[in-house]
């Protein structure tokens, strides 16, 4: 278990009891949790290695309550962490011991559906998948589909700018929102974006999206809906080596095809998932690609043939095309269950989220396998190949002393290799507390200062998720001093951690 020490230390003048009393004047007492056993479920998000109990958990049920809570916290300098479903993988919803946790789970209503304008208004606690389910009868759906979609909330998706396996064609959360209602840290309610396709002034909608709960509390979300394609088919291709598979991805795209999804898995990931869900993946393949095409029937038929040719020319050793919906779902089942599958073969796993230009794929995989050897930890790779977003899963055992620390160090080294390859430290999971040090590798002091000024523009007293997502310059000075500039430690010395 690890503890996050924020560089920004805000201390309230009120005691825990006074804070609880204050909150109970705003919401019904049963929605203010302070007992140890009530707080425990909120001690971490999906990055469970980091844990902390908050002073209190408050579960508001109305926007007015959120406004009043924020005013109360502003008046008394109480740090606030918003929480959706707590599936985040970077510690964004990790509580502070001197702050409160604002749980948005009671905001779970689909407010309205506008079929003519193809939008839906939902509360932030609504689960991602519930939106598509609610509009299914209209032949529509909400496109972004993170693998966690049965559990994660739309509010959390907005805060992380969540992606999914279909974002090459349909975009990330930011491309599928049109309006938010937000409560400021001072407790004011306002709207960003609008019901039209654009909004005058600065693009606060884009700025809020992916801001990891640092700029405001999202209390309502208007999403864009898409007509459901009449046809969707998947192609499953196997390769003898990873490089060939990587080149095949480039060929598909160079041939003018824009697949709805384009995913890749390496052999360790294939074996783990096959064992778990029996998707029919070839166990001896070095890599598989899943390529999905969707649209109207005629279009999909054209493209399937095209993709089949391209993949054959690109050196695929086996190509299968889904012949019905059940088979398509089966092709995907392995990929969608990759995380839990890996969870079965190892006591613990740690998911990394770097992005690289696709042409760097072979190089980065080589790097990862070298680092994996150096750190003595196995890695399975799943990859949103279409958009260059890599999810190496590091297998470790938290009960072995020092192994988590070594895992974190390996994760950090992989992310730094991504930056070196022209990529970034996070494609969709966010920085949170997890990648706070790697931010120092990605951005220089001037850029970080600009980020801090943006934070100040919204939250002058730094009460929302203080110290997460954007490192202080002091932290970076310390981190960089310990680090060989611009790269990984050449000879990782385990003793050091």
């Amino acid at each position: 278990m690890a503890t996050f020490v924020s560089d920004i230390n805000v201390e309230s003048t009120l005691t825990r009891a006074e804070i609880a009393t204050g909150l109970k004047q705003i919401v019904d007492a049963r929605y203010v949790l302070t007992a140890q056993e009530e707080l425990a479920p909120y001690e971490c998000d999906g990055l469970s290695a980091y844990q902390e109990l908050p002073l209190a958990v408050v579960l508001p049920g109305t926007v007015d309550e959120v406004c009043t809570i924020m005013r109360f916290c502003s008046d008394h300098s109480i740090p606030v962490v918003a929480r959706g479903a707590g599936t985040g993988l970077s510690g964004g919803a990790l509580p502070y011991k001197n702050g409160i946790l604002l749980g948005m789970s009671r905001f779970n209503r689909i407010v309205s559906i506008d079929a003519d304008n193809r939008t839906a208004i939902v509360q932030p606690g609504v689960r991602n998948l519930a939106i598509s389910e609610a509009v299914q009868h209209l032949g529509m759906y909400y496109a972004p589909d993170p693998s966690s979609q049965i559990a994660c909330s739309i509010g959390g998706n907005v805060a992380e700018n969540a992606g999914g396996v279909h974002c090459l064609k349909y975009g990330l959360t930011v491309h599928n929102l049109i309006k938010l209602k937000v409560v400021t840290v001072q407790g004011e309610l306002f709207e960003v974006g609008s019901d039209a396709l654009d909004t005058p002034g600065y693009d606060l909608l884009a700025l809020m999206t992916g801001s990891e709960g640092l700029l405001g509390i999202v209390v309502e979300v208007t999403v864009r809906l898409l007509p459901k394609p009449t046809s969707a088919r998947a192609v499953l291709a196997s390769f003898d080596d990873v490089q060939t598979a990587g080149n095949a991805v480039a060929s598909i795209i160079s041939n003018g095809i824009l697949p709805a999804g384009l995913e890749m898995m390496d052999n360790p990931a294939i074996r783990a998932t096959e064992d778990f869900v029996h998707a029919g993946y070839p166990l001896d393949a070095a890599a598989i690609l899943i390529c999905e095409l969707d649209g109207i029937d005629e279009e999909v038929e054209d493209q399937i043939e095209q993709v089949r040719h391209v993949l054959t020319d690109a050196g695929a050793v086996d190509i299968r095309v889904s012949c019905d919906e059940a088979e398509r779902v089966r092709f995907w089942s392995g990929r969608k269950n990759a995380f839990p599958a890996v969870g079965r073969i190892s006591p613990d796993y740690y998911c990394i989220d770097g992005t690289i230009p696709r042409r760097q794929l072979a190089g980065i995989l080589e790097n990862i396998s070298r680092l994996s050897g150096e750190y003595g930890l196995a890695v399975a790779n799943v990859f949103h190949a279409g958009d260059g977003n890599l999810h190496p899963l590091i297998l470790y055992d938290a009960n072995k002393p020092g192994e988590f620390e070594r895992t974190e160090a390996l994760g950090g080294a992989i992310l730094e290799a991504c930056v070196e390859a022209g990529g970034t430290i996070t494609g969709e999971h966010g920085v949170g507390v997890e990648k706070i040090n790697q931010m120092c590798v990605q951005f220089n002091d001037k850029e970080l200062e600009q980020f801090h000024r943006i934070k100040h523009a919204f939250d002058p007293h730094l009460l929302l998720n203080p110290g997460k997502a954007i490192p202080t310059l002091a932290r970076c000075a310390e981190f960089n001093a310990m680090h060989v500039h611009g790269g990984t430690l050449p000879h990782p010395d385990i003793e050091r951690f």
Partner: protein, 382 residues
């Protein structure tokens, strides 16, 4: 020219508190309130820095003509999906010159091509926008110079990147008031194999109903226009996909489709140019609305694009009551923008609510503490 030259000019202006008017080819001089200040010309910093078709990413310097970018993409069967307006031709009525500031430098710069920097700053998109997304949806990263002259890099050349706040998207459409965008990277897409345009004769209400029905289906429509009793629909995709789409849409084949969509994109379609030279009293308003908003009770001529989400209105400046149209749009969840106007002192945008306004001001101060970058262009006093 180097980035440092641009940064140097900003640093000097920052020290002397000299307002700067950032200008590329000048194709959008007409946009926003009167440009004022000393001209910071970006056209010298040009060139495509990086383009790998298999990556679907292109990086260009601010002064690069958009046309140059597009022709390179065309060679590789790719495109900027959002069809940025170039406004290079047919600007027979360049009212920008009426009230351009006294800075003589700017007069010497020929009104030239639309540049990448201007495209980002203006944030405008063309006919495909409702289906493809806009400039801001395709921008992946920027290098910019803030109002203190600091060179900052945000985002990058990869499709997914959530490290730090999304400053590149914030820059898009900020009309140069937050920073000089000196380099930008975009996601690009394969161009469709086949494109076809259908024309259907019908009244505006029927066209509205028809589109509402069609757009709820996955028919590969990627542009619409209603003008003068005709509904035009563009379909694109694979050969057979477009064929099926044409059958679903009906109407008759319209052969001058390419010209039509280009003229809408660049606003040299007759709707935008009629009477221009004869009559200086015409303002162009852009109404941005939820697409299914019913046909509005406004005087023609109007032109409807984006599946109903954008409606253009030509009005006589003297007779026009903009409060009325603004509140009508607001009632329907949209807004009205003074897109091209004789009155360059008036606000282009309706006023923001008090919280947004405060955030705009705070953000402006956070990027440009001396208030020297395109002051007053997006909003008075910003």
């Amino acid at each position: 020219m180097h980035i440092e030259d641009i940064a140097g000019q900003v640093i000097t202006a920052f020290k002397n508190k000299t307002p700067l008017c950032i200008r590329g080819g000048g194709s959008k001089d007409f946009l926003g309130r009167t440009p004022m200040g000393q001209t910071l010309l970006t056209t010298e910093y040009h060139g495509i820095v990086d383009y790998d078709p298999a990556e679907l990413v292109l990086t260009a310097r601010c002064g690069t003509p958009v046309e140059e970018v597009e022709s390179l993409l065309r060679e590789h069967g790719q495109m900027l999906p959002f069809e940025p307006p170039l406004f290079e031709h047919g600007m027979s009525n360049d009212r920008g010159s009426h009230s351009r500031d006294a800075d003589s430098e700017s007069e010497k710069t020929p009104s030239g091509s639309s540049t990448v920097g201007g495209m980002v700053a203006a944030g405008l998109s063309g006919p495909r926008r409702p289906w493809s997304g806009s400039v801001r949806d395709y921008i992946l990263g920027t290098v910019c110079v803030n109002g203190c002259g600091e060179v900052l890099k945000f985002g990058g050349q990869v499709m997914k990147n959530v490290a730090g706040y999304d400053v590149s998207r914030l820059m898009t459409g900020s009309l140069g008031t937050l920073g000089v965008v000196v380099e930008a990277s975009f996601k690009v897409l394969p161009a469709p194999i086949k494109v076809a345009t259908r024309m259907l004769e019908m009244d505006e209400d029927s066209a509205h109903q028809f589109l509402k029905r069609m757009l709820a289906t996955p028919t590969p429509i990627d542009a619409t226009c209603y003008y003068d009793g005709q509904l035009y629909i563009r379909l694109s995709g694979s050969e057979s996909g477009v064929g099926a789409g044409e059958a679903a849409v009906g109407g008759e084949q319209f052969d001058a489709g390419d010209e039509l969509w280009r003229s809408l994109r660049n606003q040299n379609h007759e709707f935008f140019t009629q009477n221009d030279t004869a009559d200086d009293d015409i303002d162009l308003w852009r109404l941005s609305l939820p697409p299914a908003t019913p046909v509005l009770p406004v005087e023609p001529p109007t032109l409807v694009e984006w599946g109903g989400a954008v409606r253009w209105l030509r009005v006589r400046f003297q007779e026009f009551d903009h409060d009325e149209i603004e509140s009508l749009c607001k009632k329907h969840g949209g807004h009205a923008i003074r897109f091209r106007s004789i009155d360059r002192e008036a606000e282009m945008n309706p006023p923001a609510d008090s919280v947004s306004r405060r955030l705009f001001e705070n953000l402006k101060a956070s990027f440009d503490p001396a208030g020297i970058l395109n002051p007053g262009r997006l909003y008075r006093d910003l």
